[in-house]
């Protein structure tokens, strides 16, 4: 309840900002408040940003669709379409600053620029589909307007809360109708996917496609009336179901019914309890006995989004590999030999054919499990691609993070997706750490188009183990995990982790540090990620991680600070936490109850 209030209060805040009467009526579209020049600048800013973020030819339909919808959303006359189309096609990009300045000077935004984030979010979600590209665009616009990115996270969360409540109120008849459709759909899906099916006890809910008619009925409500509030109505149910894929079951409900190809194990394990409008999937590179015996262990501190999963795959083989790595570094090869090995590998003098015999004993231990896992990771990656393409995760952005062979899984997942159609707008960011894959930009070019946000390649020049195991597996000299990938694309971000990673095993042991270095949010960390790269996302790293963990008292203090910004919000519903800061889900629920 509190969250819904929060959302409504935000809406009413923008309402009161317009100086209109009747504060009770929640949610007035920004388009009704902004003056025409303001709306024009707003749309132009979006157009220019679209052109900058997605200049590719194959993205043109997305750009056009977005901008056309947006012109309607903002209630601008069709006469502006040619200019907007020109902006979205990369013309007139010189005006970005002017448009941003103009927008910020608008009295409504001056008071509370977050309404822009809210408006864009409402627009992006209006048909129950959260495109990764839309999210990247929102991040970019908020950066241009100097709005901290955690605002977006907070908005997403509060919107989600209000949707959840509405869902519980779903009428019985609607539910009955829905279930009937589901049964039919389920049958169809068995045929469609073929690879594997959905089971796992939980009720299988709406898929995106099924929700479409419901959404179509609701879309008018959403667009016609107050956007933000309307999302939490009947349309909201459909929106929600569509967003979250197989209702509630989502990825954890996914289990392979039979062996798929060469894959023996493939399952999603939840890393966090929460639900979010965007999810993160982490992929582990190997397992070793003891502390790191589980797939989830390395990711314990990660908190990129409050809904995170970890992919469990081929544990038998990954454990064998882990054992081999362990033997290699703790005992079998003594320190001296390790140094010699390191020297040999790093100097690069010795080619694969002329390795000294002493080193070849090492090779015996590691090469076989490595080769097996190398092959299997590619298969798993392809399988993952088809799961993501069939939207088991719902229609919302996905971020993929993996190290070592996990990064290889991601690489092959992206490669497979690039070969299919409808791959766009699913993946937001990818992070590959110490990836044993080709580093030649020509292989990365096709996968870049799958990703909407950033492709982070974390490499370590001194990773001799990676250099060694990769020597025979394939002839390529370029390994992404050892050097930057020289791909000319705004998405590509190379990060030298040499100062953090001393050897390949550190990817598992130092994951916490690495995540911070790369700019992924972690549980403890509140401060900024130091390596953040493209300006569009910079604030993201500095943002938000704290909001989840903040203690009640601390939050209250912060609320006071923010109170000036959120005056009307707290006036409207004094009990709800400030929307500017938001709280953890627990807090929200608790306050709602009180």
């Amino acid at each position: 309840m509190a969250a819904e209030e929060k959302w409504k209060s935000l809406a009413s805040k923008q309402h009161s900002g317009a100086g209109e009467a009747g504060g009770k009526e929640p949610g007035v579209l920004l388009s009704q408040q902004l003056a025409e020049p303001g709306r024009f600048a707003y749309a132009a800013l979006c157009g220019i940003s679209l052109a900058w973020l997605f200049p590719e030819e194959e993205q043109s339909s997305f750009r056009m669709g977005f901008i056309e919808g947006f012109v309607k959303w903002l209630d601008l006359p069709d006469a502006v379409l040619p200019a907007m189309t020109a902006f979205a096609n990369g013309l007139g990009g010189e005006g970005t600053e002017t448009f941003a300045q103009l927008l910020l000077q608008d009295p409504i935004l001056k008071e509370n620029p977050v309404v822009i984030t809210q408006d864009l979010l409402s627009f992006s979600l209006r048909d129950g589909h959260y495109d990764a590209r839309a999210r990247v665009l929102i991040c970019h616009i908020t950066w241009l307007l100097r709005i901290p990115l955690e605002e977006l996270e907070v908005l997403e969360e509060s919107l989600l809360e209000s949707l959840k409540e509405q869902k519980e109120e779903e009428s019985e008849t609607a539910e009955a109708a829905r279930k009937k459709k589901e049964r039919r759909k389920k049958l169809k899906r068995y045929l469609l996917i073929g690879l594997a099916t959905v089971g796992g006890g939980t009720v299988i809910g709406l898929t995106g496609g099924l929700a479409a008619p419901l959404v179509a009925a609701g879309a008018a409500t959403v667009i016609g009336s107050a956007g933000a509030a309307a999302l939490g109505s009947t349309a909201g149910i459909a929106v929600m179901a569509s967003l979250f894929g197989a209702a509630g079951a989502g990825l954890t409900g996914y289990k392979m019914k039979k062996r798929v190809g060469a894959i023996e194990e493939f399952e999603f394990l939840p890393l966090t309890e929460g639900k979010q409008l965007h999810i993160t999937i982490a992929i582990t590179g190997w397992l070793c006995p003891g502390k790191y015996g589980s797939f989830t262990a390395p990711w314990s501190s990660m908190l990129q989004s409050s809904e995170q999963y970890c992919l469990a795959w081929e544990s038998k083989y990954l454990m064998e590999l882990g054992n081999a790595l362990d033997t290699l570094l703790n005992g079998f090869v003594n320190m001296m030999a390790q140094e010699a090995l390191k020297f040999t590998v790093l100097s690069g003098i010795v080619t694969a054919l002329t390795w000294p015999t002493s080193l070849l004993t090492v090779a015996n231990v590691i090469d076989n499990p490595w080769g097996v896992c190398l092959h299997r990771s590619a298969e798993v990656g392809k399988h993952l691609a088809h799961i993501l393409l069939s939207r088991q995760q719902g229609k919302r952005p996905v971020t993929l993070i993996g190290f070592s062979l996990g990064a290889r899984v991601i690489y092959f997942c992206l490669q497979e997706m690039a070969q299919e159609k409808d791959f766009q707008g699913i993946i937001e960011d990818v992070v590959l750490l110490g990836a044993p894959v080709e580093g030649d930009p020509k292989y990365w070019k096709p996968i870049a188009k799958v990703v909407s946000g950033r492709i982070i390649n974390g490499y370590c020049r001194g990773d001799w183990l990676l250099g060694f195991v990769y020597r025979t597996s394939s002839a390529q000299i370029n390994v992404a995990g050892l050097q930057p990938v020289d791909l000319e694309d705004r998405r590509m971000v190379n990060m030298d982790l040499s100062s953090v990673v001393n050897g390949h095993l550190d990817y598992m042991k130092q994951m916490d540090t690495i995540l911070k270095a790369v700019g992924i949010k972690t549980k403890e960390e509140k401060g900024s990620g130091s390596f953040s790269s493209p300006p569009a996302r910079q604030s993201q790293q500095a943002a938000g991680s704290g909001t989840q963990k903040e203690e009640g008292t601390e939050q209250e203090e912060d609320e006071d600070v923010a109170a000036s910004d959120a005056l009307s919000a707290s006036a409207h519903c004094p009990d709800s936490p400030s929307p500017v800061l938001g709280g953890t889900k627990e807090q929200t629920a608790g306050e709602g109850a009180s």
């Binding site: 601008l76 013309l91 600053e97 002017t98």
Partner: protein, 207 residues
């Protein structure tokens, strides 16, 4: 896109509200005239390829809104423009007097000082002329602009105005060739240096 297009030029149309900027553009691009044309919102955009002296040039024309409320948006379009068309209404002296303001704004926001300027006195089909042709000519000369009188309604001088402007821009190679190579946002991927160009500064205007 087009193989034989020499370059893409950014042209800007400015002037007071209601002087006929959009009508001039509509006449030029679509050869139509609408006496009831609605006021422009923000900016309008049209593309047209024309051939001047055997050189094909693609014109990306930004037609700005003259209304005061959109005035704040105008500065964003000036950047990178190679040519500007300054329009006034020959039947309304106030639109002529305001030209100084427009020139000031142009000076302030324009990123280059060799931008080619064309002064157009519109609506010469109307009876109640208020600004004499010589006045316009004098003003244009003083500020080293090209000058032409035109009527979007009768089609008089419209084509000529754009052609003259483009010709002058093409005769000033420094104005467009460097631009086409290092612009952040490329107008066309096929832009290659300047092939024609011709003699520099061969200034022949309608004067």
């Amino acid at each position: 896109m087009d193989e034989d297009v020499l370059t893409t030029l950014k042209i800007l149309i400015i002037g007071e509200s209601g002087v006929g900027k959009s009508s001039l553009l509509l006449r030029f691009t679509d050869d139509t005239f609408d006496p009831e044309l609605a006021a422009t919102i923000g900016v309008d955009f049209k593309v047209k390829t024309i051939s001047v002296d055997g050189n094909k040039a693609k014109l990306a024309i930004w037609d700005t809104a003259g209304q005061e409320r959109f005035r704040t948006l105008t500065p964003s379009y000036y950047r990178g423009a190679q040519g500007v068309i300054l329009v006034y209404d020959v039947t309304r002296r106030d639109t002529f007097v305001k030209l100084d303001n427009w020139l000031n704004e142009l000076e302030t926001y324009c990123t280059r000082n060799d931008i080619v300027k064309m002064l157009v006195g519109n609506k010469i089909d109307k009876e109640n002329r208020d600004v004499d042709r010589n006045e316009g000519l004098k003003f244009a000369r003083k500020h080293s602009m090209l000058f032409i009188e035109a009527s979007a309604k009768t089609c008089d001088g419209v084509q000529c105005a754009f052609e003259e402007l483009v010709e002058k821009i093409i005769q000033t190679p420094g104005l467009w060739e460097s631009e086409s190579q290092n612009r952040g946002v490329k107008l066309s991927s096929k832009e290659e240096g300047y092939g024609g160009g011709g003699a520099c500064g061969g200034y022949c205007s309608m004067l």
